[in-house]
């Protein structure tokens, strides 16, 4: 049997590899995405002072430490049975929406943008951020860098550090904003909103205006009928920071809606011997293997899933764009590549929220903490990380020492769907005796990239995933090799 190995980071470096097996007819038999890492936070957080767990867990990921810190501080609220002050919640939301703008911008322009703006079949040398800049103008490239820096600056003002922010306390936050900082944050919010508008216009002009791209987005090859999960507010509108977890079935009907504290009734994690990352599924349906459809417990999270799980967006411009999205693609969208459009709708909501929050007079208040803490116990905190629903669960003894910790991170929810998407794309693109062109390889990889998987987190930052595909004959000799050199 022939094997195709796609190592996103190159063969021996770890952090995620894709193995594709061909059958004797040269067709794709199966695909596996393997995660070769384990650090074991669920164990070594045991015995720590429980409030410190919110500062330890951000080290799970240096790309989205904000999400872990936020989930951690919400878990501490639950552990200490305390409701944060209204100001604290607003400051947390400001930090979180700033982070969303920065992260979604980075993903869209640096990681995914090249495929759409420059084109999936464009020469490799152009398919990168420089190509994007060449196509849309130098100013845009500068804007991307500026957005990142400005939004990170808000994180720094509120939480000291850009990487591994530190401000979370049960019942609130450790630092507020003074008048000068608020003025700065207001300007950054206004800039972010303009940029979100620009990005959506760009998507309409470059992608939706192009039939070939639209066909690609809608092709069966990139579609899966699964359940979808996301946090919603009391009107079933998308919320990144708080609310209930809502699950819709592949037809878009509500399947479940539950508060954080009930996640164990709904989510199970399956173990496979060939990956250090588990495979979550809906417990009430069960693990039925790597299959899609209503009878399989597989669900998805992250931008497309959140949009599917919501009835509306929480802010006006984002909601208007959601209507366009639904008019074009339907109410419940299974096309994985539509994730990029969904991400821009979320970018808009985050930017609008930043404007709203920085104009809220309460943001300057010094009522930062509710100090009415209860005896520590058990708590669950859930936020939406850019890459999916993020669940922290701490059990503390009455002295505030963590006894047990459980964590289900964004990319983990999508672990099984990513495997399925890679297989589907490979099956659609790789055929017997077919030439495996560089563009073909890139299209296989696009299925992976749409999820913005966190195990490629460093890749996410730098911008392009090296991809090597080797076709081996049954005797082990190399019959074809494709290689994509990132620029």
């Amino acid at each position: 049997m022939k094997t195709i190995s796609i190592d996103p980071i190159t063969r021996l470096e770890g952090h995620g590899k894709i193995e594709i097996f061909l059958d004797d007819n040269g067709e794709v038999a199966n695909a596996y995405v393997q995660i070769p890492e384990l650090r074991g936070f669920e164990k070594f957080c045991e015995g720590r002072a429980v409030e410190e767990v919110a500062h330890i867990t951000p080290r799970i990921c240096g790309v989205c430490p904000e999400a872990h810190h936020m989930a951690g501080m919400k878990t501490l609220d639950a552990v200490f049975k305390v409701e944060p002050t209204s100001t604290a919640k607003k400051l947390r939301r400001l930090l979180y929406n700033s982070f969303f703008v920065s992260d979604h911008t980075t993903h869209f322009y640096i990681l995914a943008g090249p495929d759409f703006v420059v084109g999936p079949d464009a020469p490799v040398a152009e398919r990168n951020i420089l190509g994007v800049i060449a196509k849309v103008g130098l100013e845009t490239g500068g804007e991307v860098i500026k957005r990142r820096r400005e939004c990170n600056h808000i994180v720094e003002m509120l939480a000291g550090r850009q990487v591994h922010p530190i401000c979370g306390l049960p019942g609130g936050v450790s630092k507020g904003l003074n008048a000068e900082e608020i003025a700065e944050a207001k300007q950054i919010a206004a800039n972010s909103l303009e940029f979100a508008k620009f990005s959506i216009q760009l998507f309409h002009d470059m992608v939706l205006g192009n039939t070939a791209y639209k066909d690609l987005i809608l092709s069966d090859m990139y579609a899966h009928k699964t359940y979808y999960m996301g946090l919603v507010d009391d009107q079933n509108r998308a919320d990144f920071y708080d609310g209930k977890v809502r699950v819709v079935d592949p037809d878009g009907n509500e399947f479940a809606k539950f508060p954080a504290s009930e996640y164990l009734e709904h989510i199970g994690e399956h173990v496979e011997p060939w990956s250090y990352l588990k495979f979550p599924y809906l417990k009430k349906i069960g693990w039925k293997g790597f299959v899609e459809g209503k009878d399989s417990g597989i669900y998805r999270t992250a931008p497309l899933a959140r949009i599917n799980a919501s009835e509306a967006m929480a802010t006006p411009l984002a909601n208007a764009e959601l209507q366009k999205f639904r008019e074009t693609l339907g109410r419940t969208v299974h096309a994985t590549l539509a994730t990029h459009w969904a991400r821009l709708i979320e970018l808009m909501q985050a930017a609008e929220a930043m404007v709203e929050l920085t104009n809220d007079p309460e943001i300057g208040s010094d009522d930062l903490r509710n100090r009415d803490l209860g005896t520590p116990g058990e708590g669950v905190g859930i936020v939406e990380a850019p890459r999916g629903t993020l669940i922290h669960h701490y059990i503390s003894d009455e002295n505030g020492i963590a006894q047990k910790v459980n964590l289900i991170v964004g990319t983990t929810h999508n672990n099984a769907p990513i495997c399925m998407s890679i297989k589907r794309a490979a099956q659609g693109l790789i055929h017997k005796n077919g030439e495996i062109s560089e563009g073909t390889l890139n299209k296989v990889e696009m299925a992976f990239r749409a999820y913005d998987p966190c195990f490629g987190c460093a890749t996410h930052a730098i911008g392009q995933t090296p991809l090597i595909v080797t076709v081996y004959a049954p005797d082990g000799s190399v019959v074809a090799q494709g290689r994509q050199d990132p620029q």
Partner: protein, 323 residues
Amino acid sequence: MAKPKVAFYWAASCGGCEIAVLEIHEKLLDVAAQVEIVFWPVAIDAKYKDVEAMEDKSIDVTFFNGAIRSSENEHIAKLLRQKSKIMIAFGSCASEGCIPGLANFYTKDALMDRVFKETPSTTNEEGILPGPETQVAEGKLTLPVLWDHVWPLEDVVDVDYFIPGCSPAPVTVAKAFETILSGNLPPKGSVLGASEVALCEECPRERHDKKVKKFYRPHEIVDDGKTCLMEQGIICAGLATRGGCGHLCINANMPCRGCYGPPPRVKDQGAALLAAIASAVDSNDEEEIKQIMSEIPDIAGLCWRFSLAKCSLVNKPVAAAAQ
């Protein structure tokens, strides 16, 4: 003069050190123009065998971030050491083991059992544990072997310089690059990009005599925003930590936890912090000091938060090579 050849690699880490390199923004472009990057798995597609084919010592500088947790981590660390003139431990994981090093409180089996068998969301009736080799219907799948212990880089290879921080602050990264590019290198073993004093000396907070009768956890007290945290009874690692980060955590009214490693001439950061805590206690009575200190929760996990993998009090097996 030819541009120096540099390599970047990351082992067991969170990716934050890679982000730290990006956070120097435009300066990164300056640096990139002055060097030739020969190996950086996330950014350029040079493969392991390309590195193997290089002549020994043909890479001028390797920046290695992440701790050593698996066979693969150690293998590449050794290979890069052999190919590099200068080996730099970049960030806290490579320097001290950092947060992943807290795993050394437990065995690997305990870690695996917790993650794959015991967590309440896991359903695993057959008790499957992921392992190095799995036969699936279509062929064989492999995974790296995880070791029983987390090691700082210098426990497996000779390290020339250290860049501290979890992750290193932009100012540290920029300064370290500057020093290296200047060619004017300090003695082997030096820490680059940070200060030669403890963090306390750079801290803007007001200090008086430290007289603490009771220690508080950060959520148990309202910090006044201007007095030394330790004086207020909030344990802060500033005295046992190298300066240079810009007191980032203090800026957010939170105590330092020591991510910049020990200050100059201190070997064991945790032991130094223990001593600093003891000397802040307002008592001459040994029993009373003991009593006050015994009320501090998880004092080992606090004092050795970033340096457990280097803790001199914990017995650890001889370095990974033996395995």
